[in-house]
Amino acid sequence: MTMDRRIAWWDEKRFRLDGPERAVSGPSWWAGSERRTGVDEVGIVVRDLAKRYGDFRAVDGVSFEVPSGQLVALLGPSGSGKSTILRIIAGLEVADTGEVELTGEDATNMPVQRRGVGFVFQHYALFRHMNVRQNVAFGLEVQKLPKNEIKTRVEELLELVQMRGLAERYPSQLSGGQRQRVALARALAPRPKVLLLDEPFGALDSKVRDELRTWLRRLHDEVHVTSLFVTHDQQEAFEVADQIVVLNKGKVEQMGRPQDLYERPITPFVTEFLGTVNVLKVETVLGMNVPDEAPLPLEVPGGADSSIYVRPHDLEISRHRDQRPSWVARVRRMTHLGALVRLELTLFDGTDLLVQLPSDRARELALEQGEDVHVMPKDVKVFHGEHTFVENYVI
């Protein structure tokens, strides 16, 4: 029974991202890209991609689609193969097997320069011997566009990335954020079919990174070029992307909208990667205090092989037992984090438990370190072994 459910997930959700919600259209000057991308529903298709480096499987049978006009994140820890996939799509790396399609056209064996991709590197890779304007113009010049056309287009892009006043500067005279904006303008200038960004904010300090994220999201809402960006930062993926493809060890773990991934992860990896989570043993859960009138609604197949995942904010704290299943736990440490309070608790069997409470709730409870409280889980995910998603219990 559980297997069926998993296969259903697999088919419907795992290898398909939802189609575009909004019409693919941008400002009038962007008209060139509509001609290319507007026709097809799908911007990027990747099929059974595999790449080995010696014995190491960097990419191991990856398939996914990026709907036209969307901004999709490839999210995974380092070594998960995300950058390699991006480079294969760009043509900078050759896959051992598998296919790449760009806007409906087979691009598997197409040389880089004919793919029409815009690529943004983590370290900008601006041409150091050219000023901002020359950098942006480069892609247009090598495609031998008429001079006046290049001029107008460059001006448009400088305007778009707010770099008009600094057009004569050289890369060494710009800040990190400015450099990355120039890199983006340069990539967008030849109206690419797709935009690929490799950890675009990775080299920036956190404040600039936040600003640039918001800015990129707004830019994308204006331009609507099909975009795929690589990141290891789930916060970044959540903030910027329409949809997320989660990668681990060269394989796709799950894909979908950020909210869906967070609420309904289908593997333990995704659950752990997308946010802090308590991992509990089956015995811990079975050892709960269960009132007779409300038996524990959990059925745990596989016994000891299963693990139970509870997010810190899915745990409720009370001073009194009520009609719900609960544990008794001792407060070991309390940390105030502004709007939230983080509690570190120890359960009866020594298991550590992390709980997040809204500050006002914590104030209401007036908790003290070392005292015993009742903990009630609200939302519990059960996984069997390393992969099988069993059930999501809302208690």
Partner: protein, 297 residues
């Protein structure tokens, strides 16, 4: 030596500024003053005094004999030959040097370490030995030399041999200067250029070459300087045929041997002057053009 000094200074401009700033704030310690004085004296003793001595000797009879010596037919021919030799060697070694640097930095192949080491061989081997190698290989009595002679191509005691030996002697300069620059340059910018629609050739001309141009220019300068000054290898290979295979250095040598030192002084001044102008020109160009290219981090 002068070249090395200039380059070290060029690569550490920040350091130099910092030293100045410190010096302005605090009184200079006596030890540092002494060291500075010692270095300057040493430099004067080793470089300036000999240069002045040569200049004095060259102009001891005034400017008229100097110009007469420089304008003599043999001297002019020697200058021309040196220039031509330097030109041809530099062009060939520039092309080869860039290609070799690309291969050494970018490609992984069996025997790469060996090739990497062999590039420096001309530095280690005395030029006389380099010349001798060619004589043994291409000399009229050798198998290969005999065959080529039969075809009417004389290598040794002729200009092809001189070019070959000059190429050998100057081979490492461009490679050694370009390799570190190319390594630092990486491949990101080239990859970006490719995604923007540039082919390999366009990428090379518009992105790679401009990025390595200072390293390359240094390599080229050193190659020219070395070509202008090469003596030992050419002495062995050229046969020193007056007016035909006699380069400037060989001419200077011959004039001393034949007791007309004034001609050799004059030619020496011209040759040294050419090298000096070459270095000054490089320095000036670099200062004017490289300001924008090196980010602070």
């Amino acid at each position: 030596m002068a070249v090395d000094l200039a380059r070290t200074a060029a690569r550490a401009p920040k350091l130099r500024t910092r030293v100045h700033a410190v010096a302005r704030r605090a009184p200079i310690p006596i030890g540092r003053r002494l060291l500075t004085a010692a270095v300057l004296s040493w430099f004067a003793l080793m470089v300036l005094v000999p240069t002045c001595a040569l200049l004095r000797a060259a102009f001891s009879g005034g400017t008229a004999p100097f110009f007469a010596a420089v304008a003599s037919a043999d001297a002019r021919r020697a200058f021309g030959l040196t220039l031509g030799l330097a030109g041809v060697s530099t062009v060939i070694n520039t092309v080869f040097g860039v290609a070799a640097a690309m291969v050494l930095v970018r490609h992984r192949f069996w025997g790469r370490g060996l090739v990497d080491g062999l590039v420096d061989l001309p530095f280690a081997v005395s030029p006389v030995i380099a010349g001798l190698m060619l004589v043994v290989l291409y000399g009229p009595t050798s198998w290969l030399g005999g065959r080529l002679d039969g075809l009417g191509l004389r290598v040794v005691y002729n200009w092809p041999g001189m070019i070959l030996v000059n190429l050998f002697v100057t081979l490492p300069f461009v490679v050694r200067e370009v390799v570190p620059v190319l390594r630092e340059f990486g491949v990101d910018q080239e990859e970006v250029a490719r995604t923007l629609g540039a082919g390999r050739w366009t990428t090379f001309w518009r992105v790679t070459l401009p990025s390595i141009r200072w390293g390359l220019a240094y390599g080229v300068t050193l190659t020219i300087a070395r070509s202008l000054g090469e003596f030992g290898a050419l002495l062995v290979v050229s046969g020193n045929v007056l007016g035909r295979t006699q380069t400037t250095t060989l001419y200077i040598h011959e004039q001393i041997e034949s007791f007309s030192p004034n001609s050799s002084y004059a030619a020496s001044v011209v040759l040294a002057g050419a090298s000096f102008v070459l270095l000054i020109g490089m320095e000036t160009l670099r200062k004017h053009l490289s300001i924008h290219e090196h980010p602070e981090n």
